[in-house]
């Protein structure tokens, strides 16, 4: 029962997110709006619920499985991937490496700067 309640809460927030996006026309996907609303609800309540924790943990622990069907969709694009393999593969590899390296370096230097008392605001 607990899992059922948890998953229903998640689906309801997704639905609210989708409806808000449809009504407002903001260019953000519905599930993201649902996530923000759920976070705000949890912050306002000041605590989570066991059912919600359980459902989230089980969904997120098998997160990588959920990407498989979309990945298999590569077979729909063999032709395009074949004719543009160079820009696609170089862009994916280099951009992923650059993002990992630059993000980590920026965060590390900001943390060091902050630890030295560089930030006076907090």
């Amino acid at each position: 029962m607990s899992f059922l309640i948890g998953i229903t809460v998640l689906l309801c927030y997704q639905l609210i997110g989708e409806v808000l996006v449809l009504l407002s026309g903001i260019p953000v996907p519905g599930p993201v709006v649902g996530m923000v609303l759920l976070l705000l609800t949890l912050l306002a309540r000041g605590k989570s619920a066991e059912s919600l924790d359980g459902a989230s943990t089980s969904l997120l622990s098998h997160l990588s499985l959920l990407f498989v069907p979309a990945g298999v969709g590569a077979m729909l694009h063999f032709q395009r991937i074949g004719s543009e393999w160079l820009p696609i593969s170089v862009a994916l590899v280099l951009s992923t490496l650059l993002t990992l390296v630059i993000t980590a370096l920026v965060m590390r230097s900001l943390l060091r700067w902050r630890a030295r008392g560089g930030s006076a605001s907090d």
Partner: protein, 243 residues
């Protein structure tokens, strides 16, 4: 069973969504077992392995993707509630997030900027077509969000989904090695960079390293999904790629 009996059975099964669902689960379970048997060697990434098994299976049986997806959509659908579910680890880490928020925000915005502009820029330099560039732009964001963004900016959502999955696998395979080589030891820094660059697949990998790395990766994946959804249409407009 006779030859015709078998082919009748095959015709029945291949038209039912059950088969697509079962082979997705089986391919993933087999891949995950192999990955565990290889001491979780990131090179044997279970998503990549499962994708290859399934594509080979569909190719051999001459099954179109649309038939497969009728069953696989039940798994795919769960990406929506899983995205909403990210609110829970975000909430649990909220005290750390609040203490570090200027650093986290600045790092994530930098990461989103690098991820999108470098992908589009490199593919453009190497002669990628406009649809490919637009489909590549949201590649570091989790699938349902990336597909939504791709649709908004005029890319091909299903091509974006493939780019997203490949990006995630690359991040999961190389992330920890790169951090080791760079001497990045803090799990919050490693997790955040992983989540920005490699979304849910990177996060799944991060959770295997430590709970803190996983939580920061999930946090970064959620925040960068939001930031990319909000900023990318505007950023591409500045580059003159979308009107």
């Amino acid at each position: 069973m006779t030859e015709t009996g078998l082919s009748t059975l095959w015709v029945y099964l291949s038209a039912s969504p059950l088969l697509g669902l079962i082979i997705t689960l089986l391919a993933y379970i087999v891949s995950y077992r192999l990955y565990e048997a290889a001491n979780r060697n990131p090179l044997l990434n279970p998503v990549a392995l499962a994708m290859l098994i399934l594509m080979a299976l569909l190719f051999v049986t001459d099954t179109p993707y649309s038939t497969y997806f009728e069953g696989a959509q039940f798994v795919h659908f769960l990406l929506g509630p899983a995205t909403v579910a990210l609110a829970v680890p975000l909430y649990q880490q909220f005290s750390k997030l609040r203490a570090l928020w200027p650093v986290i925000l600045a790092s994530i915005l930098t990461g989103v900027f690098v991820a999108t502009t470098s992908a589009v820029g490199i593919a453009w330099l190497l002669g990628g077509t406009p649809e490919t560039l637009l489909s590549l732009a949201p590649k570091s964001v989790t699938t349902p969000v990336a597909m939504g963004i791709s649709e908004t900016i005029g890319g091909l959502p299903s091509l974006t989904a493939v780019m997203v999955v490949v990006t995630g696998i690359l991040g999961a395979v190389f992330g920890t090695r790169i951090f080791d080589a760079m001497g990045i030891e803090r799990d919050d820094v490693r997790g955040l960079a992983m989540g920005v660059a490699a979304h849910g697949i990177g996060t799944a990998r991060a959770f295997q390293v430590s709970h803190q790395m996983g939580a920061f990766s999930g946090l970064a994946m959620a925040l960068s999904a939001m930031a990319t959804a909000l900023l990318l249409p505007w950023l591409l407009g500045m580059l003159g790629l979308v009107s």
